[in-house]
Structures are given as structure tokens and as C-alpha cells.
Amino acid sequence: MRKPVLHPLRPRIRYVNPRFQGPAVLAFAAIVATGGAIFWRLVDSEFQRVFLHAAIRGHYAFDSTYDIVRDLLAWHLAGLFVGVFLTGSVLVLLLVAATRHGIGKAVDSLRGSADGDLSTPTGTGSIGEFHRFGKKIDAARSDTLASVLKIRSEAAALADGGISPEEFRLRWDELKHRIRGIAP
């Protein structure tokens, strides 16, 4: 009987980039904390007022303090949810827009590089991680351009002639070696 072939399970790679995810996490935490602080301030002052009013008013037709503030608490909790969710949604949309802009510029730049434009800056903007990423792309393009220009000037110099056959052969081989070094 044939045994089924067992393929070893490949571990799922989860890359985490603290420089990208860190600020987003902090921004969401700030939203939640701010929402909580505002909720606390509002509910605290409202509850103080409502309980005092209920104590003075008399006619205690309730079993617990929760019965007094049920509606008030529900409205404030709903407000907290809506406020935090809407602000969080705006942050998500801003993150998406920043990513689209930053990565879009990087993609344009790489496509331009394929057409030979290695000198126009990527222009990913000044947003931390994308700015750094754009600089890395520009550095790679700049290295490539420097290498190509060097080979080109060497090729042009060799083509001009006036070099001894031995030296020409040496520099020819050197040039071939350099060309092999482009995008290895």
C-alpha cells in the first residue's frame, strides 16, 4: 500500500515592522484613552448631579442606582462607542491614504526606473516610514545609475582608441566583469 507523501508544514512568516505598526498602535491607543477620559469626565459630573437630584426629589421608585442612570449611561456609552469608532475609522482612512500615496510614489519610481529614469527622486513624502523607504529606493537607484554611468564612460573611453592592445584587453575584461555586476 502506498503511503501518502507528507509535506513538512511551512511556518507562516509574520513580518512585524515596529516603525510602521508602532505609531498606528499608539494613535489607536491615544484615541481609546482620550475617549475613555472624556467619558469619565462627562459621566462623573452627570452622575453626581443626577444622584443628588434624585436624593432631594424623593419618591424613590427605583431598586438600585442603576435604575436612576440607565438611560444616561446608555447614551454616554453609545456616544463613547460612536466617538471612538468614528475617530478610529478616520485614522484608518488616513493610514490607507498615506500608504496609497507613499507606496504609489515608490511604485511609480520603480516603473520609471525600468524606463531608464534613475535620478528623479521617489518623493514618497515626509511621513516617517514611507520617507525612509523612499530613501532606500532612491539609494538603490542611485547606486545603479552610478554603476551604469561608470561603465558607460569606461566603454566610451575604450572605444576612443589610443590604448595598447594589452591594456585594451585588460580593461575590456574588467568592463565585462563590471557589467556582470549589474542586477546580479
Binding site: I13, R14, A24, F28, T99, I103, V107, A155, K176
Partner: protein, 185 residues
């Protein structure tokens, strides 16, 4: 969330991904508010004394206890919501952060002169267009490199003939290569 920048390589960030993120955030925040409600419900739903005077005094003396109860409840909510939102952010955003990190490694590798392989992200990753654009650039460079080397090798074949022809063909090849490289600016 496709855009003009992404044309040809699929959308940079899929709408489905953004909606999924918003939905998860909604559930997460709703859960946080639900926990806050449960805490406050249990804190406030203790029965008041049966007599009139007892209720009056209980309500009048509630203020000193109310503030810490609310503070602790909100603190628990904030900690839970911050924790779960952070975990959610890391989990969801790694589909953008991962490819970015990967590309950074590949760019470092490329600059160090090591052999650069074709980039491919995980199938559910966003910004796939970045990998396509990088592969297009490297592919074009490699095609050019092959063409330049082929031109030079073709000239070398003439070295089987006399020295002068060989040299003339080599110089011609060099001019062709230099001219071909002029498109890079």
C-alpha cells in the same frame, strides 16, 4: 482603494481589506464598550435600602465612591480596548508592514551586490504592485545586461580573425553599449 498609481499591478490596498479592518475595529470597540457597561452595571445595580431615610443617605453618600468606581471602570476599559486594538493593528497591518519590511531587506541585499531574486509577497498581502514594479525594474536591468554582454561577446568572436578586425569590432561594440546605456539618466 485602488488608485491611478496602482494601474497595471492591481490595487495597492484592496477595498475588502479596508472594510475588514473597519469591521474588526467596530467589533473591537463595541466589545470594549460592552465590557465597560457590564462593569458599571454590576457596580451600580446593588439594591438600595428599603426605607426612605436609607435611600436618601445612600444617594447623598454615593459621591465619594462614585468617582473611584468610574475611574477604575474606565481604566479597565481603556486597558482592554488598547490591548485588543493594538493586537488587531499588529495583526491587520502586517499585511502592509510585512511587504515593506521584505522590500527593505531586498533593497539592502541588492545594494550589497548579492544575487537578487524575484520578489513575491504572500498571496493575501497588500501593495503587491510594489513587488511587480521592483521585478519589472530588475528584469529590465538584467535584459539590458544580457544584451550588453552579448554585444561584447559577439565582438570577441571576430578575434579569431586578424587583430585589426577584432579591435575594430570591439570598439564598435563598446560604442553600441555606451550608446545603449545613454537611456539611463
Amino acid at each position: 482603494m485602488s488608485g491611478p498609481e496602482a494601474a497595471g499591478g492591481g490595487p495597492l490596498i484592496h477595498r475588502r481589506y479596508v472594510f475588514g479592518l473597519l469591521l474588526r475595529l467596530c467589533v473591537n470597540f463595541a466589545g470594549g464598550v460592552g465590557i465597560l457597561f457590564v462593569i458599571l452595571f454590576f457596580a451600580l445595580s446593588r439594591s438600595l435600602p428599603g426605607d426612605y431615610e436609607g435611600v436618601f443617605h445612600a444617594l447623598r453618600n454615593l459621591s465619594p465612591f462614585l468617582r473611584p468606581i468610574l475611574a477604575v471602570s474606565v481604566l479597565v476599559y481603556a486597558l482592554l480596548a488598547c490591548g485588543s486594538t493594538s493586537a488587531l493593528c499588529v495583526y491587520i497591518l502586517h499585511k502592509v508592514a510585512g511587504p515593506l519590511y521584505r522590500m527593505e531587506l531586498i533593497l539592502d541585499q541588492y545594494r550589497s551586490g548579492a544575487t537578487t531574486r524575484t520578489v513575491s509577497f504572500r498571496h493575501d498581502d497588500q501593495i503587491q504592485a510594489l513587488a511587480h514594479a521592483f521585478n519589472l525594474w530588475i528584469g529590465t536591468l538584467r535584459l539590458d545586461r544580457h544584451r550588453w554582454l552579448a554585444t561584447m561577446m559577439d565582438a570577441e568572436r571576430h578575434c579569431l580573425q586578424d587583430e585589426a578586425t577584432c579591435r575594430a569590432k570591439m570598439e564598435e561594440a563598446l560604442r553600441k553599449v555606451a550608446g545603449d546605456m545613454a537611456r539611463y539618466r
